[in-house]
Symmetry: C2
Subunit: 349 residues, 2 copies
DNA sequence: AAAAGCTTTTAGATCGATCTAAAAGGATGG
DNA sequence: CCATCCTTTTAGATCGATCTAAAAGCTTTT
């Protein structure tokens, strides 16, 4: 009888452990472990006894201990460039809901769109032993990054922006969205259309620019009326005049996102132009505010919540089968027509 | 010579461990551990050798293993009712930056403002062994909740909303904010002022309502013109007429938050009222959009990012000294005057 | 009654770090 | 030259779970 497991005399007040549960239910640690993990191996009566013991003792599973042995942390890292931007907040929301439903948790980090911080953050994720990462890569991410990921063999899915074709990607068909916007304006008779952009340069940026150019060119329209506005929200209205400083005067503008759209609506208003009457404007993202602004904003919807959900599903699939070939889930956009566009004919009236 | 630590012949391809580093640097595991933790006990030459070994082998610290022994996970839980709301996203951003700077990470969860989900989420946080939690309590959180927390002895700070005076709290002086808003409108000559509210009922809700009532009463004004508008952003504009369905017709409205404010600006516009001229309106939160909307929105600023920072600092303080008495950090609001308010005299012109 | 085949339970090693208590090495003092 | 003290290093136990391989109990077959 070499069993001296239980120093019950002077028990340290520390936490309730699986061993405590096992002893209370009169089974071995191993059996108790099986019960927790819902193994079919354990008998019904025993299972009930162990579960009762867990309840009585107020047992809390120690995932940290489990992970050490089992090599799974039930944790995924999410790295975004900026939390203040509602767009990423919605992405995050979609990710969180799917990850949560799968019984895992999200470890969050902010790269600030800076590669050095991104490196630091990725290291920290590895130290914390995340099972995988959903990353919206910082704009200046180097070309060696995918190789490093490969070496770490850390499952990773790219969201919104992509830097490698060898990894999963969940995003939006930005180019098609630009086509929808141009198509709508062209059908209203607009011939000179500007594209207002800002922010860092990344794949999503290129795709939108290219989409715009293509769509314009295919209609024989001048594709280079691209105007850069300030990054700071508060300065955007004041930059509306930039639209008209070239020789070609646009009758409509497509905006890189709705932050720009809202800002330019204000700025154009300040210039005495009536958006939706004497000037047309299309936003991108279709944020909630599009509906509560006057005129209501016509906008290309990108539904970031569902992109987040897609990204999370891709990651879960990959975790359950690491050998899957890389996949892309590219969502279609939808043009939401409201009040901010008028036909050129009307404008002349 | 009982040392058979190194089965180097057929090494499993698994991760690089501290033992590998130690052997490579020709020291013991214990010494290598001291180096990682930057202990002053270890000699300079030895430290350099170990650090070189870590670099050469590409060693990654295994926090999971460390936590098991050391009882600290370098992890804090953050529970918010809703991620889609930019207000919470900003709060989260503030929390993340401070927690990150302290070398810890954020585990995120969404309670959906539902107590059952909140319970589940709190359990999961405990399973993951977080060192502490920052919680924005769900509206219907029961009175027994603080006791349960106490039992778990899990450091917790309340953010934005509070349910117990025995725990740390970081928030905003909503009542004072309401006083500022009422004061501003009263000084412009407004006598009949409505308060537009929505959303779940919680401490921050009560404080705003009470603040409004008090401020109105102290000026001898009718304090009960409280109008409930829909929760869905898109339906708010259509509810603007609710403001005028009583016998007392307000000349101004204070809004519970800027989502309502933006919605009502649109709705009032639809009714033919000119906000900032024939009608006055004050928002609450001072979101970025306040500046890019026309008329620019006068709003009471609550700076959620800095509330998040305060909450995180409170938690870090508590972690380093669990015996600290409970503290409250209540930020002052600031009235940001823009264009959405006019004096009653002007309105009559 | 022994063998074979299930189902259920278990002892003991293990994951990768930290912690404790003590040993080893070097300098100083009597 | 040995005792004392200080600095640096270390062996071995430990945290709380999981995993492996085998044992213990049951039925069912032969």
């Amino acid at each position: 009888m070499p069993s001296e497991d239980r120093p019950s005399g002077d028990r340290k007040k520390s936490r309730v452990t699986l061993l405590d549960v096992a002893q209370h239910a009169d089974v071995s640690r191993a059996t108790a472990s099986l019960v927790i993990r819902k193994s079919p191996l354990v008998g019904a009566e025993t299972r009930a006894r162990v579960e009762a013991a867990m309840r009585e003792l107020g047992y809390v599973y120690n995932l940290g201990a489990a992970r050490l042995r089992a090599e799974r942390s039930h944790t995924v890292g999410v790295v975004v460039p900026n939390l203040t931007n509602p767009f990423f907040a919605e992405l995050l929301s979609g990710i969180e809901s799917v990850i949560d439903a799968a019984g895992m948790v999200v470890i969050l980090a902010n790269s600030g769109d800076l590669v050095e911080r991104q490196d630091m953050v990725m290291r920290r994720m590895r130290e914390h032993g995340v099972d995988g990462v959903i990353l919206c890569p910082a704009a200046a991410t180097g070309t060696d990054f995918p190789d490093r990921i490969e070496e770490w063999n850390l499952p990773l899915v790219q969201a919104l922006r992509h830097i490698s074709d060898d990894m999963d990607y969940a995003g939006v068909d930005y180019a098609a969205g630009m086509h929808q916007a141009v198509e709508h304006l062209a059908s209203l008779g607009h011939r000179i259309i500007a594209f207002a952009v800002h922010g860092p340069i990344h794949s999503a940026y290129h795709e939108r620019i290219e989409g715009f150019r293509e769509a314009m060119q295919s209609r024989g329209l001048e594709p280079d009326l691209i105007v850069r506005v300030p990054d700071q929200t508060a300065q955007i209205p004041g930059s509306a005049s930039l639209l008209f400083q070239g020789t070609a005067k646009p009758t409509a503008v497509i905006c890189f996102n709705d932050v720009i759209a809202l800002g330019l609506v204000a700025g154009l208003h300040d210039l005495g132009l009536k958006v939706g009457e004497s000037f047309s404007l299309i936003g991108f993202d279709d944020v909630a505010e599009a509906e509560v602004v006057r005129p209501r904003l016509t906008s290309v919807s990108t539904a970031p919540v569902s992109i987040g959900e897609n990204a999370a599903k891709l990651l879960l699939d990959r975790l359950s089968d690491p050998l899957l070939p890389p996949r892309k889930v590219v969502k279609a956009t939808q043009l939401h027509i409201r009040q901010s566009c008028a036909s050129v004919g009307e404008a002349v009236l």
